[in-house]
Symmetry: T
Subunit: 157 residues, 12 copies
């Protein structure tokens, strides 16, 4: 099927922007699955606090996933958020299996957020010329994830 | 780490029930990812109707994922909902990449629901003796998915 | 038109379950009409209290009608809730025409609830093997109607 | 029991108005049952849209039923909304049994609304002298049903 | 000060309509005060039910007071709802001082509603030619008060 | 395309009523644009109060526009609310360009409301025979606009 | 009927407290009627602001009326809030008839509040010994009325 | 463990106030259990009205229990609200076992409220010097319970 | 008074089911009192988290108490939830008096939940034959308490 | 009147930005009128879906109109959103008169959105230097309209 | 400007009360700034719990600031809550600059609350004669701050 | 303590951005205190309108303070919002002590907003290179403050 959704971007702009958004979609889905995994498996004195904060992180990750994927459709690029794609392309650090202590969970969240933010910063740079509308969305996502990065890091600082 | 959460189940009951729940968690996460994928990529005259119905399906899948995973923790079995686990163990039929017509999306949803319901029916049977509390949850999930299966099938009936 | 909605039930299970659900749909629609009839025609010192309680009963009856009818569609059996079907098949005791005293209304509600609960108890028994998902719904309906039966009976106890 | 509720209407006015309201109550209950029947049995590509619109129609029919019946009590005339009365006196066109295509459902709704509106227009005329308060209610009901008639007819126009 | 608010009514229409509205304002304020008085002083087995129903009556009376008074201003006639005006001009039957049994309260409410409805019916007739916009408001008020009249009368029917 | 929406009105009634509604639609859209224009351009000590009151007027005008236009469709007459139609057919007085003092704005609103009410009064008269259902809507619109006319006029009275 | 509601107060305490509460009930009802009268009849550049503020005053007066009257019943003293009682016993300053300028309305509100607060201060003093529970209510009423007194006075300061 | 929470009260003030609050906590928990017991076991024509009013009483008792207990912690005195403490120290009159007629329930509630109010009045007196902050809370509790005492007594007055 | 509420259960079924429900009512009331006691007396670094989680536990215990007690009335067995009954019959482990560290509170909650769940599992078994409707309620209660048991145990795992 | 609202922009920046905003205001008002026109006149099998989606588009257009117009006032440039201005200056494609099929409506919406987005992209470019605050608003508007453009185009893709 | 707001207090009472309120306003503003400062700068394992609790404290401090300042205006004394006044007059203990551990934050909050409560207790004493209405407000503020003092102290007890 | 929160910014970027945010935090806190001071001390005919608008300004200032301070923490720079810091570093114009006329208040607000906006415009420029995420936040704050600046200036224009 030829590309069915048209946009005002040139094909170069579309390619650059589409790649930035596809990477963002995959990273955020993985972040939501990692945070849910931790939400269920966390143990320790701070269980309740961490368990609740993880669900806030899941909500953030899910909402931005949708915004990034629908931005991709808006510029005419089909997004791919299937399990195997996420498993294969994510730039997140992941999480091990089984019950995990609250300290370990906090460190895992901080590491994963740092890795994803790093990629987002690069995507903000490359989309500045290609599509300022997409850049603005990436800035919003980065702003929120950096806020959460501080909140999680503050627990081990 | 030895199993940190205790329950009243025998280890046989725990193994049977834990396996049923782990399979359910994986199937439901995959269902939520498939439905989101379709939500973004659907095209056609019924776009709006299908697009909205898919988000209702996503919500259902996500809510039951959480209930199944937290039932697993309640019986002392660590659930695993990571992307690679989902990609490797899901019993769902999946969805192809790229833009997809509304007719195809409807058929894909019907097939995936049918496959997952089939597995749930089997798990209802095996948990009857092992843990009636878990069985009750699986019955609730099946009731809702069978209702959705009718609604999606009615569109192509 | 051949049956357009498929399910995992055998045709025997489908027949048994479908019959139980059709009877439930008819009984509950009739209950909602009887309760509305009483809601309008009740007279007496306890008018306000009975008038309000009847609307709660109407809401319960309507909500469970929908759940029972949609469970029927989910197993591939077309439900029938038309006025003539209700008039012909209901197992409820009914209500006479015209203004009715509050005492009479209370007795009428108690009798109708008792008759419907009796039929539901039988349907819980026959669906245990045929379809535990449907049985679970019938148990929920019975639980609520038995609670209301107590509340109405308590007024004349 | 002699008429227990008094009003400022003469007995002629009461008879004319009471008849108009009783007819309206019966028609609207039947409309609500027909719409629910269609809500459960509709099939086809527009299933979801029609299924949802039918529930809006049910809500409208139920709310106006209550207003018409309570207007009847307010003028001292006992309303009758029992299943057998509805089955025997309704001026609606009805609906056949079993699964029904979305196209057929739309036509059935349009026909039923047209028949009921026709009767309401006549009742507006006869109540103008008898009771302007009741006429005002009938005008409100007609306004809403004519709006819905347009919306349903627009689907086949 | 000369009349500061202009309208499309002739001065005859304005006089007729203004008088109808002023009478309605006074009657409704008095009704709200009578109902509050009864709300505080009622005694007896049905205390709670009557106490609550009286507050619903107060709310109705207050809301319609405001609508009638602001309709008066809209046609350029200053409304008068001061205590002494209400005490001097009300067509309501009033209520005696001190604790009052629930049976007496119900009869008092029925009598007062009947007297006010009677006056409203006359005002509907006289405003038909003078101002159909005001007539429509008076019809709305009458419809609601007649509904409440039935509900209160039903308690002693 | 021949008229696709049917109604119970004769073609004369339809023409009379359709014309009344089309004029109302145009006047109300223009009123909403005038009020928004004033909302942005008002200056002066009463800026905040006038700015807020204008948005209430916008909301009223928009809601009644929709009711009038959908009443037109319900009787089978296509409404026209396009910018050029509004610019060409409106009976409102309009508003000048640029920043405007609060006193001027109040006078502009009073004049525009007066002009539109005048036309509505005439339409109430002509639709009484043609279609009482439409007349009832025009009465509702007039009632609300006359209330607002008082409120705005009171500021300069 | 002998006093049907008992309390822990001596008959002296009951008399003192009952008198304080009866005076408060009457003053507050009168305040609510005066404020409504002004709400309808106010004219001038600050119409909207004063019109809205008067409704807040009405709400305050009505809520405290109920609290004072129900405190009276709680100590076994029947409250009297009928129109003629209010007209005869109120310590408020009242308001003249007809359209009133916003400046005059503000001064009228300030005067009436001042008169009522003065009486409340005296009642706080006399109930300190008689019934600290009632005193606490009178302090609450005074606190809120003094806040409103400031807000109204600030408009003419 | 030495007293871990400090306050500005002297140890005498703390002892007096702590004792008043502990008695209040116990009485209110008992009141909530008595009211729930009656809520379940009441029979008779006024079942619904009494059943609902008892749940309002339960809510009041529970909310004030929490306020009294947390006031105790705020002054450094550990509150005790365990079942055996309530069973041993309550000054309420209690309720017999088994189904109870609505008339008996009303009398039981009136008696229990009277007994608890009596104790609260004494505690208001003793805390005046010891801690005006606690006294203010006890006044609030008494005000509400005396209001409820009137409402329940009014049913048998 | 002979048993005033009838049901479809045999007297054996009624006895078995009634006993299971009475035990559940007592255990849950005690759980709510123990959790409140801990809510007030907890000390330590995790005070806030534990304090809030205890109130969630109180809400759960109270809601299920009501459901179990009203299920008992529905089968015609009078429930008993008075303080002395709770103090005498509870199968919970209880809690000591005075300020308690957060670690101790967590262990106390885990122990009490484990004891109550153990009894509920036995009651699920004995009600399977006697009354599947009651069994379904006991399964719901167990599901929720086992979830909470995991959440509290996770804090010390 | 000289420009009464000051800003930090130079007069060149103000002119460039004001022009961009004025064009946006006009385009968005026209879009809202076109979408409403289609909302009323659409016919066809997808009537309901298109009818609802058009109202979402109206809401978006109205909200952004207000933001753009108030951004204009914030930089000291009076916006002009009167009917004749819109009719004369809009860059939208418009819509024909009369009943319109759902397919045609979808194409009309897609075309109008494309034209407006094209203009917005140009305005984003010219305001980058002139006023980044305005540019940020234009980016937000474009982001949302491009999302809607995809959703409408997807229906014909 | 001479004092523009009048009250019933003598000038001595006004001076005493005004001073008490001014001190309270300053202390509460400082408390809100200290709590916000801690909200941003807290670090450590209990970050999330402390971070959230601090915002509750901010809300309490802000709400009471407004009540105290508006009580001051109500008695005719202009309150002063400017930054330099707060910096110069506050009786709070303050907080150091920079990142702060959660343990230190808890101790800082406890100390600041203790200092402010101490001052409030003295103000309750001095206003008893001067103005019982103000005293009642100071009691409310103290009650809430002492509750929060317990909650914070419990974390280090 | 070394900087405990890491970010992707270089230390130069961090210094530039941190300084911009610290200035913004201080200015916004001061704005909130100035607006509250005016909220309490304003006098004059427009008291109510200005009093309400000031609270909206307070809410805006407080919300943006939090966003700016938490953006500072997110980039690893500790924000300082203590009273003495605000008193010493604010770039706002401030407000005099005592009662202030509404005209003066409006001018004071306009001046303070202008001064703060001026500083924000400069910070937008310096953060463009240093941190586009922070720049985006500063643009949002400026957009809202410039809107408010127009609204306040319009009152004296």
């Amino acid at each position: 099927m030829p590309t069915p959704i048209t946009s005002t971007l040139t094909s170069d702009q579309q390619a650059t922007t589409g790649e930035a958004l596809q990477g963002t979609v995959v990273d955020l889905i993985d972040l939501s699955l990692i945070a849910k995994q931790a939400h269920w498996n966390v143990l320790g004195r701070n269980f309740r606090s961490v368990h609740l904060a993880l669900d806030e992180l899941v909500t953030v990750a899910r909402d931005f996933t949708d915004e990034a994927a629908e931005r991709s459709t808006a510029i005419g690029v089909s997004p791919d958020g299937r399990a195997s794609t996420v498993a294969g392309q994510s730039s997140a650090k992941g999480i091990g299996e089984g019950w995990t202590s609250d300290e370990d969970v906090i460190n895992i969240v901080v590491e994963n957020l740092a890795a994803i933010i790093d990629r987002l910063r690069a995507r903000i740079a490359v989309t500045e010329e290609a599509d300022p509308v997409t850049q603005d969305l990436l800035i919003s996502i980065t702003a929120r994830l950096e806020q959460l990065h501080w909140m999680w890091q503050a627990q081990v600082a």
